[in-house]
């Protein structure tokens, strides 16, 4: 779909049982398809030539050429989409206050392309979403982006055209502040995480529509059931299986696509390639983490080092000292580490489903490697995770989920369960468009902001884990007004159909969400699915509220774990048509997207 150059269905002729965890050491872009008509085989025969350290393009003028290249991360040479021949795309280094001019040329053979500057405040026609902000960039043509930088921090950029992001079109974007940062550091490294597949991303999407559970090789088996019977008793084990069975779901659906399809990359390098960032003992090192993956949540830690988080999504926060953080696709976190006493540390980034990892090394010189930890045990979703727990713990309630499911439920009967307002489970009022909707396979019964919850697989793991609740913007609410109105949207989906939407209505048949220019309003999101969704609103900030509805944290991407209800304030100060979507690429393409139109 994305590339006519992909042969066949794009399914690699190797058994899918293989986990693509380690990748190949000398992987990366092997050749640019500068000349048309040369077969991939010819390039593969030429042998790999490493692209080397990421290109850094500094200064307010940049020239980016989007083209097709061959890349090899798994031992197989496959087509990739690159910028200036590089995967990831070059690091762009700009300065707050500058007006930047970027000429983006499309050297793809047959496909229009685009670049979206993720989290950057700019005029709508510079936002890079074909069909909303501009017409896209046709093959052989170029588009000149020009905008003034009103912010600083760690951001990224990526294609907003079909599945090109998955094929490699993503890169780091760093904007240096005019005023000195409120923290000191001696050196810095960009850590850009991503997921790579040998498949044609379009074929992968088609596969998801046929068999969404393709990569879930972790379903509970008969032996698992017998073990649970021994452990918990027959009644508890059958009650548990019964609950999931009536919902037709499985608690091991942590991520749609995992290491059975993906190889996870750190700065475009598979674990076997051991990307290395240098430090001198005692230095304060700023690590700019960016999750540029299409479908992968990473849980990141550096064994032996505490991390002090100083910025989230490019914006300063009150420093928080942690040992591990979960980063959703499109989020960025700036952390400071002070390595000393060891020559090498592993940056270990396991996927949320614990099927694989990206990894690299911080070391005093090249060629060193610290032990790579084992992946944590795979977590199981609980009814509590999914907002089906009317109690307060994560214990399984004994009631019949199937009876609670559907339109006949009386939400008012569930009410609130003490505690302080929204911080405990509240029964959401579901939009009428979800009722009887074949695209909606689940509705949450009790949702909460869960801002202090480290999340599935990270609770009680003995490490200090970052939560949204622990992050507070370094500044007070830059707008300060109370929201004048509230819009509630529910994240909806159908696992088996691989259908995703807001309020049960996919993008293709949804009306734009209209905001009035200048207004301060509140968006309330309720997750009615069992998956986790990073929700990104273009053009304006998403000012996350705490459980009491007060401004807490300025972000561009709000992560929505299952069973959560989270609210954020939006200041509609950017006229135009903006994309609003789940940043899991295949969820977006399957319909979990809206247009937000800010009008006078």
């Amino acid at each position: 779909m994305s590339f006519p150059t992909f042969p066949g269905t794009g399914a690699p002729p190797m058994p899918s049982r293989r986990l693509f965890v380690q990748g190949v050491g000398a992987g990366g872009v092997v050749a640019s398809l500068a000349a048309a008509g040369l077969s991939p085989r010819a390039f593969a025969a030429a042998g790999p030539t490493l692209a080397g350290a990421p290109q850094v393009l500094s200064g307010p003028q940049a020239q980016l050429t989007i083209g097709e290249s061959l890349a090899n991360f798994t031992g197989r040479t496959r087509p990739a989409i690159t910028v200036n021949g590089s995967l990831p795309a070059p690091i762009l280094r700009w300065r707050e206050g500058d007006t930047v001019t970027v000429r983006v040329a499309n050297a793809l053979q047959a496909h229009p392309t685009s670049i979206h500057w993720h989290g950057i405040l700019l005029p709508s026609n510079m936002d890079g979403v074909p069909g909303l902000s501009f017409n896209g960039i046709a093959p052989g043509e170029a588009y000149q982006y020009r905008f003034t930088l009103k912010q600083s921090g760690t951001y990224w950029y990526h294609s907003h055209s079909l599945f090109q992001e998955q094929a490699g079109l993503y890169g780091a974007l760093i904007i240096d502040p005019l005023a000195p940062a409120p923290y000191h550091f001696d050196r810095e490294h960009v850590i850009l995480l991503s997921d790579w597949t040998d498949m044609d991303p379009g074929a992968l999407f088609r596969r998801m529509k046929k068999l969404a559970e393709h990569d879930n090789y972790y379903k509970r088996t008969l032996p698992d059931f017998l073990r649970d019977v021994r452990k918990d008793g027959w009644a508890a084990a059958t009650a548990d299986r019964g609950m999931w069975g009536r919902m037709r779901m499985t608690p091991t659906d942590i991520s749609d696509i995992n290491a059975h399809t993906y190889t996870y990359l750190l700065n475009g390098t598979a674990p076997a390639g051991n990307w290395t960032g240098l430090f001198r003992s005692g230095e304060k090192v700023l690590l700019r983490f960016i999750n540029g993956a299409s479908m992968t949540y990473f849980d990141v830690r550096i064994p032996g080092l505490k991390m002090t988080v100083v910025a989230a999504d490019g914006q300063y926060i009150h420093p928080v000292s942690i040992e591990e953080f979960r980063i959703s696709p499109a989020e960025t976190f700036d952390v400071i580490v002070e390595p000393s006493g060891q020559d090498a540390y592993t940056i270990f980034c396991q996927d949320m489903g614990r099927t694989g990892f990206a990894a690299g090394t911080l070391a005093v010189r090249h060629g060193l490697q610290a032990p790579v930890p084992a992946r944590d045990p795979r977590p199981l979703l609980t009814m509590g995770d999914m907002g089906h727990d009317m109690g307060h713990g994560h214990a399984m309630p004994a009631h019949d989920m199937a009876a609670m499911h559907g339109a006949t439920m009386d939400h008012s009967a569930h009410g609130m369960h003490g505690g302080s307002g929204t911080s405990s489970g509240t029964a959401p009022r579901h939009p009428a468009s979800e009722t009887g909707n074949p695209r909606v396979d689940m509705q949450s019964m009790a949702t909460a902001p869960k801002l202090d919850d480290p999340g599935i697989g990270l609770r009680d793991n003995g490490r200090q884990v970052l939560t949204y609740g622990a992050m507070h913007s370094l500044f007070e609410d830059p707008d300060g007004r109370e929201p004048g109105r509230e819009v509630e949207l529910h994240l909806t989906g159908h696992m088996e159909k691989f259908s995703w939407s807001f309020d049960g209505t996919p993008f293709a048949s949804a009306e734009p969400l209209r905001l009035n220019y200048g207004e301060r309003m509140r968006i309330v999101l309720v997750n009615d699915t069992m998956m986790q969704h990073p929700i990104h609103l273009h053009g304006v900030w998403s000012d996350l509220e705490n459980a009491d509805g007060q401004f807490q944290l300025r972000k561009h991407t709000i992560d929505m774990p299952p069973g959560t209800r989270r609210s954020y304030r939006v200041r509609a100060d950017a006229l135009g048509r903006w994309a609003y979507h789940c940043h899991l690429l295949y969820h977006m393409e399957a319909g979990m997207m809206r247009e937000v139109r800010i009008e006078e």
Binding site: M1, S16, R17, P112, S124, N125, P130, G131, S133, N135, G136, P182, K210, Y218, K219, R220, T221, L222, P223, G245, R248, H318, P319, V320, I322, E323, S420, G421, G436, P438, L451, D452, R463, Q464, V465, L466, G469, A470, H472, L474, E476, D479, G480, R481, E482, H494, K497, S499, A508, G518, R520, N546, G549, Q550, D573, A574, L575, G576, R577, E600
Partner: protein
């Protein structure tokens, strides 16, 4: 980097006074300020640095009900001099507070730093004509590329060789669909060969529409293609995933000659491992009318029960072995026995399951 205590202290004093004066009202706003007046209890992860992080405080153990407000003069709170350090917040229990009856309207937010504002701190830029042009450029309708909404799948559920008590042969069952999440065109086919000739086969072409998250209604035609007595049926059925993940289909057929027939099939997948899967299935057929010409009695005609064990070498390709038992009932059994055919048969099967 952090708000300085000297700046925030007067504000927090005001806020704390508000807590005292209106304990219920100030609840949601007062939290931020507790950190300065009391020693924070040891906090769970993560540890804030370098200043106290208010969000990390554990308020869950607070019990406000033990606070004695009766000795305070609520009407005239002194602006300064209240010593909060002796308050024991650690026993506060907020859960007993009634938030439903809160009336925030009487709070004086203007006196608080974080209160609502009529005008934004950062002014909203005045829109210029250039802004308008940049905001709503002319866009080609086709500029946005959409991932395809039409998909398809062909599942050959079983393509197998069988070895029965009364012969050997081959059999297949397949289904495919093309369409959207809601509307799909289905084909289904089932058939059996024995002794080198096709004994029975049919092909169904159906329009299916999702009527609920788990059920599709199907309407279409079925063509029997047994060599001798092929006939055409109108078909109406449902298909979907029943609770407990039973793959289920039930179809009623209205055939030439006024015959009404029905087929019900239920399949289940029992995971021995994530690749070794035991698949029991039951299929039953019924007829309304007695039709000796077709060898069908009225009522229950046949029941087939199968148990197949497959190994998914990949998701797309899985060989299997199994056992299948078929039994004819009532007049149907009699007609077949009269024709020299057995009324029941047990078969060993071996085959593959593939999808595209």
């Amino acid at each position: 980097m952090s708000r300085s205590p000297s700046r925030t202290l007067p504000l927090l004093t005001t806020a704390l006074l508000a807590v005292i004066a209106m304990p219920a009202h100030a609840q949601s706003h007062g939290h931020h300020d507790h950190g300065h007046g009391v020693t924070p209890t040891p906090t769970p992860t993560p540890t804030p640095t370098p200043t106290a992080d208010h969000a990390a405080m554990d308020h869950s153990t607070m019990d406000h009900s033990t606070m004695d407000h009766s000795t305070k003069d609520h009407g005239h709170p002194a602006p300064t001099g209240v010593d909060h350090s002796t308050m024991d917040h650690s026993k506060m229990d907020h859960s007993k507070m009634d938030h439903g009856n809160m009336d925030h309207s009487s709070m004086d937010h203007a006196a608080m730093d974080h209160g609502p504002r009529a005008a934004p701190r950062e002014p909203i830029p005045v829109v210029t004509e250039a802004d308008r042009l940049a905001a709503f450029p002319a866009i080609d309708h086709a500029a946005m590329q959409h991932a395809p909404a039409i998909h398809s799948m062909l599942l050959i559920n079983r393509l197998e060789h069988w070895d029965g008590q009364h012969g050997t042969g081959q059999a297949w069952e397949a289904s495919g669909w093309v369409g959207s999440d809601i509307n799909r065109l289905w084909v289904r086919s089932e058939g059996e060969r024995s002794g080198g000739r096709t004994e029975a086969s049919d092909l169904e072409l159906l329009y299916g529409r999702s009527v609920s998250p788990w059920w599709d209604v199907l309407v279409g035609v079925k063509q029997d293609m047994r060599p001798a007595d092929s006939r055409t049926w109108a078909a109406l059925g449902i298909q979907g995933l029943a609770p407990y993940k039973f793959e289920t289909s039930a179809t009623a057929y209205l055939g030439e000659g006024g015959q009404v027939a029905a087929t019900v099939e239920v399949e289940y997948e029992l995971l021995l491992t994530n690749r070794l899967i035991l698949q029991p299935l039951v299929e039953a057929t019924f007829s309304a009318k007695d039709e000796p010409r077709y060898g069908n009695g009225s009522g229950l005609n046949t029941v087939e029960a199968g148990l197949r064990l497959r190994y998914e070498i990949s998701r797309r390709f899985a060989p299997h072995v199994g056992i299948s038992h078929e039994r004819l009932f009532g007049d149907t059994a009699d007609y077949h026995r009269a024709g020299g055919e057995p009324a029941r048969d047990t078969r060993w099967v071996a085959g593959v399951r593939v999808w595209f």
